[in-house]
């Protein structure tokens, strides 16, 4: 975008051109690690002295010569009795379901020799087409050594299941017969079979009550729907049918309800085609929010509002729509945000194809939003009241009632199922205090977590990959969970425990099967039940709800009452600093916190990992006199946390935002002490959990803590043709809009950069593997980052090494802010106030004229005849010339032997953790460069399968981990030599349209193409000259 006056920047330091930024940008590798004393072990030390080096060298020589004398004897140990269908070295896939902590995904589990090594999306599912980073990372939690190895009674871990069962059953019976209440506390249960188990348990112990709560609650939405439509359920949203989408503090692409499903639907409205009669229309998305969320980053128009204003966004929008449509308006203070008028106009214009979603846990606001949607005719089109989403069923009031009962010493027994309220409930401290007084308390947690460590018995439930189960995330959409590995530890899934105590047959597999036979098979499956069951297990899903018509309903809510409540709670202006709590895309509510993959996944917008922090806007930070990294005390009426500051462009002025999910105390090495727990700072408003708890005071403590942020790492040195974007109106006129076609001056006049070359080029007679990445549908969710990590055994390096700029991810998502004319100081201020955001996934571009290949002195990186830039680790001597010469900065150097080093205790250096390693990919040792291989192991395997079947590979059969997992299908991988492949078809129409190569002017001819980002904005906002 050389021709526009837009400026792109990755972080404020780049915008301001800070001294440190300039220094780091110019040095390829971060030298002199600030904390190098941490690693001065003889072998791995970076601060090694020359003598130590000689010692190591001398010893190494001696060791090598000794070792060479005799090769160690290796054993080959076959099965005693080989299971049928299991062939060593050949992978099997099993369909299963991940449904935990409010997430749902239908998955395929790839297993090798009976151990799961990868989670992949189940394409048969009608709900989730991709798999989020968190679901990918859930695999690593299976191999967590810090889990309990068996049942635990008090501190006694030697106790047997028989004994635990005997004691618990006798105590439960006692409690039940005495009539004292029993409470089963859980997060939302999406499994119909588990619900049946719970009712069996209640039948046996009738004083039991089941209480559901969600750490990030949607209780207000449920209650508002109950009053609005008489049904306390979350309806099924369908973003794909929406032309105008308005999000009010609802991060529906990142953390609200079912982000993978919503992303998939949302992306369909954003997909464009430059073909002659291609789709040239896309949805327009408005977002009103406090923090710059992932969803806000993707919005066409985004406005920052303070938490105290958020309710008024709904009322003001309602009034604007209502007055234009001739409906009754409501009385509430009006907000003056120009985008609100535009949004109202667009909503009305696309009546029947509009959708307003709101993430505020306040029934009054939700009622107004319901009414607004009703007014716009969304029910029956973009919202289906006939189907309910079961992923949030928790009731804040019921949970509060439970805590009061607990504190009042009224309970005889408490059971915690998939729940850790001591950690993730604002009143956790009260629970922690009262819990030890209950005579019988049981947790099914897999470890002695914050709640588990306070109960009498922990009956550790097995990991979902070791368990049976089912789920019904949306009514009529069923899926099954099946075990893919035999039990690693002496654990038992919670349902089996509950069945045992209920005096039933504890075989949960049979239970689920019987449940399906009598309840789900009957929903029009037809045929023989055994066949149906086998098919359902094979497919993982059974979806009788598919294709049912979308139904609406008549709104009966009390709009005036809601408006009055809003007018009371929210203010149009406020000068105080307000706190906003939010859920991070990766970490979520923190139940998988002891997961190094998740901890290291950079948050899509801030690009920070291994921490939570106090986000402040630039102006607020300046007013407070703090800079990034300064530790501040955030004080909310006496409850306070000390957190480092991150200066976040786009954040509402006068707010401080902190992520939940951090600050675990009893989760394990990777989670404990990382960040601070801010659940206690959430408040209750009219009995509803509120993440917008009110005014806080922020004061500087004088400490400093550097935040591990990847945003300015691997910068491209101001070459701005990396990003090419336009607006929809310009694109409609010219599909090449926003494209930058570099011209080189020659003696024969200007020529296209690709016409002048020193290179001979390569021939690809067989395949030519390539990738197309659509910047318009990429939401930046970072699922691909974790998928790649899982597929390619990418090491986790930890907080300090990320600060040292040594992260190992093969694919990164560059997040660019952009803003118009930032030449003046005032412009600079404005630029960071509310910038546009673009996400660009970047991995090795597999250049045809690869600059890395020419500089390698040992031919460790070479070109293949299929368009791949190959990396041969065993040839690499670690000169790092290639990384130096790479224009995209995608090469990673192994500074340490991460898989065998005590300093990198991230599940990778112990025997159990190593079970997650993909045996098809070399685990790289210290001193070599590595980078994206375009999943060459999958390419080779796919080709071999085709050859074994005496045919050509089919398109879609060979797919990289990143493309496979993308929830929005933004990445297309395939053979560009195959004219029938999806990638060829896209390139055919987009070559003279949106497709561009990054840094075309240097003529490295990458195999990876990008499609320009198109914003559905007014054309005037940007110079449209290409």
């Amino acid at each position: 975008m050389k021709d526009t006056n837009k400026r792109y920047w990755k972080g404020l330091e780049e915008l301001r051109n800070d001294e440190n930024f300039v220094k780091n940008a110019n040095s390829e590798f971060a030298q002199n690690a600030p904390d190098s004393s941490n690693y001065d072990s003889l072998v791995d030390g970076m601060g090694t002295h020359r003598r130590d080096f000689l010692k190591v060298l001398g010893f190494g020589m001696a060791a090598v010569s000794l070792a060479a004398c005799e090769t160690p004897v290796k054993k080959a140990i076959p099965y005693l009795n080989k299971p049928e269908g299991e062939y060593p070295t050949i992978a099997n896939w099993y369909a299963s379901t991940y449904a935990e902590g409010g997430d749902y995904a239908s998955v395929l589990v790839k297993t090798r020799e009976g151990r799961p090594i990868k989670i992949e999306p189940n394409t048969l599912s009608g709900i989730s087409k991709g798999v989020s980073g968190r679901v990918h990372a859930s695999l690593l939690s299976l191999y967590d050594v810090e889990k309990l190895k068996g049942p635990r009674k008090g501190e006694d871990t030697k106790v047997s299941w028989e004994q635990v069962d005997k004691e618990i059953m006798s105590q439960l019976a006692q409690v039940a017969t005495s009539g004292t209440p029993i409470r089963l506390v859980s997060s939302s249960v999406v499994s119909p079979s588990t619900k049946a188990v719970i009712s069996d348990f209640i039948a046996k112990y009738p004083t039991t009550q089941h209480i559901q709560y969600d750490a990030n609650s949607a209780s207000a939405l449920l209650d508002a729907n109950s009053t609005s439509f008489g049904k306390a359920a979350i309806p099924a949203y369908d973003f794909s049918k929406a032309k105008t989408i308005v999000g009010i503090d609802a991060d529906f692409l990142g953390s609200w309800l079912a982000p993978e499903m919503f992303s998939m639907q949302y992306a369909e409205t954003r997909r464009l085609s430059s073909a002659k009669d291609g789709k040239r229309d896309m949805s327009r998305h408005y977002q009103f929010e406090t923090i710059l969320s992932l969803t806000g980053s993707n919005a066409d128009y985004r406005s920052a509002v303070k938490p105290s204003q958020i309710g008024l966004v709904a009322t003001t929008l309602y009034n604007k729509v209502a007055s234009k449509m001739g409906a009754q308006t409501i009385s509430a203070p009006a907000l003056t945000i120009p985008e609100l008028d535009k949004a109202a106009a667009d909503l009305i214009a696309s009546k029947g194809e509009s959708l307003v979603v709101c993430g505020v846990n306040d029934p009054a606001v939700q009622t107004i939003v319901n009414s607004l949607n009703s007014l716009l005719g969304s029910y029956g089109s973009t919202i289906n009241l006939g189907a309910s989403m079961n992923i949030r069923q928790g009731s804040d009031k019921a949970m509060n009632g439970f805590i009061d009962e607990l504190k009042g010493n009224k309970l005889g027994a408490v059971l915690f199922l998939d729940a850790n309220p001591v950690y993730n409930h604002p009143r956790g401290a009260e629970i922690a205090e009262a819990l030890p007084k209950v005579s019988l308390s049981i947790s099914f947690s897999d470890r002695a977590d914050e709640t588990g460590s306070l109960v009498k018995y922990i009956c550790p439930s097995s990991h979902y990959l070791e368990s049976w189960g089912d789920a019904e995330p949306i009514s009529g959409f069923y899926s099954l969970t099946q075990p893919t590995i035999s039990l690693i530890y002496n654990t038992r899934q919670a349902q089996a425990s509950l069945l045992t105590w209920a005096g039933k047959n504890a075989d949960y597999h049979e239970y689920v099967k019987a449940f399906w036979r009598s309840n789900i098979y009957t929903q029009g499956a037809g045929g023989n039940f055994e066949n149906f069951w086998i098919k359902a297990l094979h497919d993982g899903v059974f979806e009788p709800g598919k294709g049912t018509t979308t139904s609406g309903g008549s709104f009966t809510g009390d709009v005036a009452g809601a408006a009055a409540s809003i007018a009371k709670t929210y203010k149009a202006t406020s000068s105080a600093i307000e706190l906003a709590l939010y859920e991070k895309v990766g970490m979520g509510t923190g139940h998988l916190a002891n997961n190094p993959w998740l901890q290291e996944m950079p948050e899509p917008v801030t690009k920070a990992c291994w921490d939570n922090y106090a986000s402040l806007s630039k102006q607020t930070a300046a007013e407070l006199g703090v800079e990034q990294g300064d530790v501040v005390k955030v004080d909310l009426k006496g409850k306070s946390v000390d957190l480092p500051v991150i200066v976040q462009p786009g954040q509402a002025i006068g707010t401080v935002a902190v992520a939940i999910g951090y600050g675990r105390e009893k989760a394990g090495k990777s989670a404990d002490g990382v960040g601070k727990n801010v659940f206690p700072m959430a408040s209750f408003a009219n009995g509803y959990l509120s993440f917008l708890p009110g005014e806080v005071s922020v004061s500087k403590t004088g400490d400093f803590k550097e935040i591990a942020q990847t945003q300015t790492h691997d910068t491209v040195m101001g070459r701005e043709s990396v990003l090419q974007e336009t607006v929809l109106a310009a694109y409609k006129k010219d599909t090449m809009a926003g494209r930058f076609v570099p011209k080189i001056e020659t003696s024969e006049g200007p020529k296209e950069a690709t016409d002048i070359s020193l290179w001979n080029g390569h021939k690809y007679p067989n395949h030519s593997w390539g990738m197309v990445i659509d910047l318009n549908t990429c939401t930046g969710c970072s699922a691909c980052v974790v998928a790649c990590q899982s597929e390619n055994n990418v090491a986790v390096v930890g907080r300090q090494e990320v600060i040292n700029r040594r992260e190992m991810h093969w694919i990164r998502i560059d997040r660019y802010y952009s803003s118009e004319s930032v030449d003046s100081t005032a412009g600079l201020e404005k630029a960071s106030e509310n910038p546009e955001v673009t996400f660009q996934p970047l991995m090795c571009q597999h250049c045809n004229n690869a600059p890395c290949e020419t500089v390698c002195p040992v031919l460790a990186t070479t070109h293949s005849s299929e368009g791949l830039n190959q990396m041969t680790y065993n040839r690499c001597v670690g000169t790092r010339y290639c990384a130096n010469n790479c224009p995209y900065k995608v090469r990673r150097f192994n500074w340490f032997k991460y898989f065998d080093n005590e300093n990198f205790d991230y599940h990778f250096n112990n025997d159990l953790g190593k079970m997650v390693i993909n045996p098809e990919v070399t685990v790289r040792s210290r001193g070599v460069i590595e980078k994206c291989s375009m999943c060459v192991q999958r390419i080779q395997e796919g080709k071999l399968t085709a050859r074994k079947e005496r045919r050509r590979p089919q398109d879609g059969e060979i797919v990289t981990a990143c493309a496979q997992t993308c929830p929005t299908n933004a990445i297309t991988f395939g053979d560009m030599n195959d004219p029938e492949s999806a990638i060829s078809k896209i390139l055919e129409v987009e070559r003279e349209g949106r497709a561009f190569h990054m840094l075309e002017e240097i003529n490295v001819r990458p195999q990876v193409s990008y499609l320009t980002k198109v914003r559905n904005k007014e054309a005037a906002a940007q110079n449209t000259e290409a």
């Binding site: 060479a68 090769t71 004897v73 290796k74 054993k75 080959a76 140990i77 076959p78 099965y79 005693l80 009795n81 080989k82 062939y87 060593p88 070295t89 050949i90 007679p765 067989n766 070479t862 293949s864 005849s865 299929e866 791949l868 190959q870 990396m871 041969t872 680790y873 065993n874 040839r875 098809e920 990919v921 070399t922 291989s933 060459v936 192991q937 080779q940 080709k943 071999l944 085709a946 050859r947 074994k948 005496r950 045919r951 050509r952 590979p953």
Partner: protein, 416 residues
């Protein structure tokens, strides 16, 4: 010349392909009439393949008992419809109370015969034809196998015999040298009478001075040193190249399993035990249940086979010593080479059917892999994957399409 060698090599390769082909070939040559007579009944060649794939693991063509009865004279013993229904579902026959079936079942320890419902009547006729044919030419068959085996022989590196001969020659030469020296001494003594030389110096002393003169000569000295240094360097480099190369490695295995017996003498198809060879990366060391398919009935009392029983009883898998150890950084896939490439096991593993103890015959070095990829023609026949490539290659080159031509030398073929 070159072409001729190629032809011979090709013939040898063809001969070595599978002994069975050779045997049948010989059998056919020896008994043309029989072959013709049988053709009316069933296709013996087809039957042979079917027999090897389905029956040979439990039945012999001779009268000798194996897991099941020997099949010599089977077509006289049982009538054809009985055989068909037995082969299609023996359990059903036993259940129906057929006296012959029940008797047979009890005679063989109530071991169930696998049902082959997919074998058609023609197939069964073919198998019967093959059994009769094989029994009609036992001599030919016996004579056939060593001949075929010899054709497989392919020496890699100096054989033991060669080294022995070399050492023997060296010893003989040294002896001759010694004897000559003694003779010279004696003669010189005899000539000079009192054992002094012409100039009065004894012969041995003269020899000494000559040697010391030579030793003091700088040219000779430096030449010797250079030769020595060069030899040592060469030895070192050769040695370094052989670090980790385990050619000839033949460790003792926990169970004295003999490939010579199973693959050589009984001609059990390699696939029968190494089930993964056509499917995936690993050929699979057979699990104990595969051993039990036969040894559930055969040679149960042998102490070696008792070890398998012990393993099953104690639920402890058998820890075989791995013979072929490719380094972890190299990716090798059996199915690519066997299934797609159509290579014989012997190509890399040597004459496995002659090995009492398995030995690593090939060096398994990268040079060895690359060398083969350079020389080997791609098995493109009947494989649609290669059609376009062959077409393209033929339009550009007259040489056959080699593995190296389709990326067989590229790094990420094997390293990733």
């Amino acid at each position: 010349m070159n072409i001729q060698i190629k032809k011979t090599a090709l013939i040898a390769k063809k001969l070595s392909v599978r002994m069975k082909k050779f045997i049948v070939g010989l059998a056919l040559l020896c008994s043309p009439f029989l072959a013709f007579a049988q053709d009316a009944e069933g296709d013996a060649a087809k039957g042979e393949t079917l027999f090897k794939n389905n029956c040979s693991s439990c039945h012999n063509v001779t009268a000798e008992k194996s897991v099941g009865p020997g099949l010599k004279g089977i077509s006289e013993r049982r009538d054809f419809p009985w055989l068909v229904s037995w082969i299609h579902n023996s359990q059903a026959m036993i259940a129906s109370g057929d006296p012959a079936a029940v008797k047979l079942y009890n005679e063989y320890n109530q071991a169930q015969m696998t049902s082959f419902p997919n074998l058609s009547e023609d197939d069964i006729k073919g198998i019967l034809a093959y059994i009769d044919q094989a029994n009609a030419a036992p001599v030919a068959a016996d004579g056939g196998s060593p001949a075929a085996g010899a054709a497989v022989a392919q020496s890699s590196g100096p054989s033991d015999l060669f080294v022995l001969v070399l050492i023997a020659l060296l010893v003989v030469m040294l002896l001759v040298l010694g004897v000559l020296l003694v003779i010279v001494t004696l003669l010189s003594k005899a000539v000079s009478g009192d054992a002094t030389g012409a100039d009065g110096v004894p012969f041995m002393d003269r020899l000494k001075t000559t040697f010391s003169k030579a030793a003091n000569n700088p040219a000779i000295r430096s030449a010797t040193i250079w030769v020595f240094v060069l030899l040592v360097t060469k030895a070192l480099i050769d040695g370094a190249y052989n670090v980790g190369v385990q050619q000839g490695y033949a460790p003792k295995q926990p169970i004295a399993f003999s490939h010579k017996l199973h693959a050589g003498e009984y001609q059990i198809d390699c696939n029968y035990c190494h089930t993964g060879v056509n499917r995936g990366k690993s050929a699979h060391i057979p699990s104990a249940n595969i051993c039990m398919n036969c040894h559930g009935a055969i040679k149960k009392e042998s102490p070696e086979i008792q070890k398998i029983y012990a393993a099953i009883e104690t639920n402890q898998p058998i820890e075989w010593v791995r013979v072929h150890n490719l380094p972890d950084l190299a990716y090798f896939n059996h199915s690519q080479h066997v299934n797609v490439g159509g290579l014989e096991c012997q190509q890399c593993h040597g004459e496995i059917e002659k090995m009492e103890v398995v030995e690593q015959r090939s060096s398994l070095t990268m040079g060895w892999c690359i060398d083969c990829h350079r020389k080997t023609e791609v098995n493109t026949k009947g494989n649609a994957y290669y059609d376009k490539l062959v077409q393209l290659h033929n339009s550009e080159s007259k040489e056959a399409l080699k593995v190296a031509d389709i990326g067989g030398l590229e790094c990420s073929k094997c390293h990733y």
